[in-house]
């Protein structure tokens, strides 16, 4: 199921919220668990088994870690859990990629099963790993209740698109939680904002980005317009989903950590990654980068650490070589900032530093969005005038004219100003603000109904 569907918003979510609200306290996690499994199974029931296996394995690992006293025994249990989790993730996500690469490079004929990727596997595997590692480190106690643990791993608001919720963040709320009417309202405020980002901004920006990418001949400015539209699309898409997850969590009585902090306002690439998909970058920081020694090592080792972390970050986003390249691109930029350009960058005026960072990130998204290297090369070429159709053309002018309002509004939403204004408005003219939010919900509904609009048959005749 996806959040941005009429079925989810008007049937599934209200039913689950009501059941959760009125269930006896000790049954709440059970309600949430059943709802989450139903949510996950909707449309693709086969992989429910895999997810439940992951739940059971990591639950038992937690108990074993709790029972084992000897250090070597604990290490062995942890190693077993890490291997099993990564093996499952590796097989379902990377096997096809690995086999194709090996077959291509070495002329082998290893079988490729062409398995569809289990939805959310990258997210729930990382959540499970954070749990077992934290139990191993003694940061938290093992969870004794299978239902509570399963609820943590499968919770539908963050199951398929994050944020990656750390067990320690919601451990207490798994046992005891509640939401007042005002907290439900706060959650809904966030859900509506997230839904609007996804449906009103990201989807429409996506149409523009796709139109530019599909065009057989691009002018330089068209290529930049398409790249900018994609950068905005991926931000509003992803952060919109995170907003909805955080909002729904709030309605259920959970507090999830923030996942985005106005990333396009960053003044350096280093800062960008502190503001973008925070739950993922902090996962890699806590469980890979710091254990490797972080930056408290020699320069050579530090660069190697960055390289390893960013190769993995790239691969986490998808099993394809362009994601590897994208990860390396960021490793390179971060190393440069740390050892070469960082000082100069910090002396730039804020606006210039932001523009430069945004430029580098936008080029990064071109690498990210093109799994085909030839197409990526062509597009990057057009950005600098190689193989492009002139500097500006009519298609660019028309696209700009048709989307000017959308782009301007999207750009405005990249900074904190509008959200601050909205918070001020809700504090001064609360009823007007409610009307505004009702209008947003109505507008999103109209776009969602229109998504199934499919006129045809007699058109051409």
């Amino acid at each position: 199921m996806v959040f941005s569907s009429l079925h989810f918003l008007y049937i599934f979510l209200p039913m689950v919220m009501l059941a959760h609200r009125f269930a006896p306290r000790r049954l709440r996690n059970g309600v949430l668990l059943v709802a989450s499994i139903w949510f996950y199974a909707w449309g693709e029931p086969v992989y429910v088994g895999l997810m439940l296996f992951s739940v059971a394995w990591n639950y038992l690992t937690g108990l074993q870690l709790g029972a084992a006293a000897r250090h070597s025994r604990r290490r062995a249990v942890l190693a077993g859990a890490v291997v099993v989790n990564l093996a499952v993730l590796g097989f379902f996500k990377y096997y096809g990629f690995l086999v194709q690469t090996l077959n291509g490079a070495l002329g082998l004929r290893l079988p490729d099963y062409q398995l569809p990727l289990p939805i959310g596997i990258s997210f729930y595997t990382f959540q499970a790993l954070s749990y077992v590692i934290d139990v191993y480190r003694g940061t938290t106690k093992p969870q004794g209740s299978l239902v509570d643990f399963a609820t943590y791993i499968t919770m539908f608001p963050q199951l398929v698109a994050g944020p990656i919720v750390k067990y320690t963040d919601i451990e207490a709320q798994l046992r005891k939680r509640g939401a007042t009417l005002a907290q439900v309202g706060q959650g809904l405020e966030r859900v509506i904002l997230g839904l609007s980002k996804k449906v009103l901004l990201a989807n429409n920006l996506g149409l523009l980005a796709d139109a530019m990418r599909a065009s057989p001949k691009l002018s330089v400015l068209s290529a930049w317009l398409g790249a900018a539209a994609y950068a905005l699309q991926i931000y509003f898409d992803f952060s919109g989903y995170s907003d909805m997850a955080i909002g729904m969590g709030r309605m259920l009585g959970f507090t999830f950590a923030e996942n985005f902090d106005y990333p396009y306002r960053a003044r350096s690439v280093t800062e960008f990654w502190r503001r973008w998909h925070i739950s993922l970058s902090s996962w890699f920081r806590d469980y890979v980068y710091i254990p490797l020694g972080g930056n408290r090592v020699g320069a050579g080792r530090h660069m190697l650490n960055l390289l390893v972390v960013w190769l993995l970050t790239g691969l986490w986003h998808g099993a394809s070589w362009n994601f590897v390249l994208w990860g390396l691109y960021y490793a390179l930029l971060l190393i440069l900032e740390k050892y070469l350009t960082g000082g100069a960058l910090s002396k730039l005026p804020a606006g210039a530093a932001r523009a430069l960072t945004l430029l580098l990130v936008t080029v990064g998204w071109v690498i990210f969005s093109n799994t085909d290297f030839a197409a990526m090369g062509r597009y990057l070429g057009c950005l600098v005038g190689i193989g492009s159709q002139g500097f500006a053309d009519r298609a660019f002018m028309y696209a700009l004219r048709s989307n000017a309002l959308l782009l301007a509004f999207a750009a405005l939403c990249c900074g904190p100003g509008l959200r601050q204004w909205q918070l001020k408005l809700t504090g001064r003219l609360p009823l007007l603000a409610v009307v505004l939010f009702a209008a947003l919900l109505v507008a999103c509904t109209a776009y969602l109904v229109h998504g199934s609009y499919n006129p045809f048959l007699y058109f051409r005749f």
Binding site: E189, N204, T426, R428, H450, F459
Partner: protein, 381 residues
């Protein structure tokens, strides 16, 4: 401030709850619609839940479609979305431009080079093969060419003019007469509505003007005085508004030229339907959304029209739907019209031409359909 914020949060919760409850109750009690006239398709009905359907995912995808298709006030939501798009400055949707003066204008999509060549080669070959017949090719420009002033500013429309130029040039080698409507249409457009505002067809006035141009080339009666211009409907909502979602509440007049006392009698035969009538119009269509189907009842593989004009002239028409409202004028100049729509026709054209004793050929398309068409070349090859 804090108190007001609290009020906002509580009121938001109640507002959402009320809105969702309202729509859900409406969803539960309203009767499911079987079809959507607007979209001209069947809507998804409530699927039956079976274990097999659930496990395969078929039930789920049908259920999701069911919720969207039967969502209360569906057509209004769709209209609202298009209005919001307009407010945001969008002037194109599904290949339809939101033009000035209430015009919706279909974009022109040029054919691929290979498609163009195949159709052109087939045409040239067909025309050369039948150089004993009088031949006319009439490729009507669409609104995107004639009403280009009405396109939204900076609109990046396809090059229909270039396409028509190229057709005329390539056909000049053949025995056919190419009838170029652009000068006549350019001159008339200020005083006459040549195209519907919500539909991709030309109006009966546009068709009449085209007939007069054709009449000069083919020595047909040079006036249409025997016809009476009559309003058939003032509630015509064309396909362009349905396709684009723009101006979905706009309706317009649909006029027709109805043969009067001075015109020849006709017998119309819809060959594959085995139906016969004296009238060139099917008035039942005026009660449906597809009102343009009033002309000849819509598109059929083969229609034969016999008239009381006793001049021995028999015309084969290879056509698209633009021809449907022009054909009545042709009944004054021909004894027989053999109307073939290649998109539906599956017979042997040569055999048909022989059997009907055809001695003239008219190829009548609008540029947009001809550019996309792949059926014509199949029938004439």
């Amino acid at each position: 401030m804090k108190k007001k914020r609290l009020l906002f949060l509580r009121a938001t919760a109640i507002m959402v709850l009320a809105l969702v409850a309202l729509l859900d109750v409406a969803f539960l009690i309203h009767r499911d619609r079987a079809t959507s006239p607007l979209e001209n398709r069947n809507l998804q009905q409530r699927p039956a839940m079976t274990l097999q359907g659930l496990l395969s995912g078929r039930f789920e995808s049908r259920f999701d479609s069911y919720v969207s298709d039967q969502f209360p006030l569906r057509d209004h939501w769709i209209a609202l979305k298009s209005t919001l798009d307009r407010l945001a400055g969008r002037t194109e949707s599904n290949g339809v431009f939101l033009g000035r003066d209430g015009y919706l204008i279909q974009d022109f999509k040029a054919p691929s080079e290979a498609d163009y060549r195949r159709t052109m080669d087939a045409l040239v070959d067909f025309l050369d093969r039948h150089d004993d017949l009088a031949q006319y090719v009439l490729v009507a420009p669409t609104a995107v060419t004639v009403l280009s002033d009405a396109l939204p500013a900076l609109a990046d429309a396809g090059d229909e003019v270039g396409y028509i130029h190229r057709l005329a040039e390539d056909l000049s080698e053949t025995p056919a007469t190419f009838i170029d409507l652009r000068p006549a249409f350019a001159e008339a457009k200020a005083s006459t509505q040549l195209y519907y505002r919500t539909d991709h067809h030309w109006t009966s006035d546009g068709a009449r003007l085209a007939y007069l141009e054709l009449a000069r080339a083919a020595s047909l009666p040079g006036d249409t005085d025997g016809f009476e211009r009559r309003l058939l409907s003032n509630r015509f909502q064309g396909t362009l508004s349905a396709v684009s979602g723009f101006r979905m509440n706009q309706s317009e007049d649909l006029w027709a030229y109805i043969p009067g006392d001075g015109t020849p009698q006709t017998v119309v035969t819809w060959v594959s339907e085995n139906r016969r009538s004296a009238s060139l119009y099917r008035e039942e269509s005026l009660d449906t959304r597809d009102k343009y189907a009033v002309f000849l009842g819509g598109n059929f593989p083969q229609i034969r029209i016999e008239t009381t004009v006793n001049n021995g002239r028999a015309l084969l028409i290879l056509k698209d739907s633009y021809a449907n409202c022009l054909i009545p004028f042709l009944t004054t100049g021909y004894q027989k019209l053999v109307v073939v729509d290649p998109r539906y026709f599956t017979g042997d054209l040569e055999v048909l031409m022989e059997a009907e004793g055809v001695n003239e050929v008219l190829i009548l398309y609008n540029a947009e359909t001809l550019a996309e068409d792949t059926a014509l070349r199949g029938d004439i090859e």
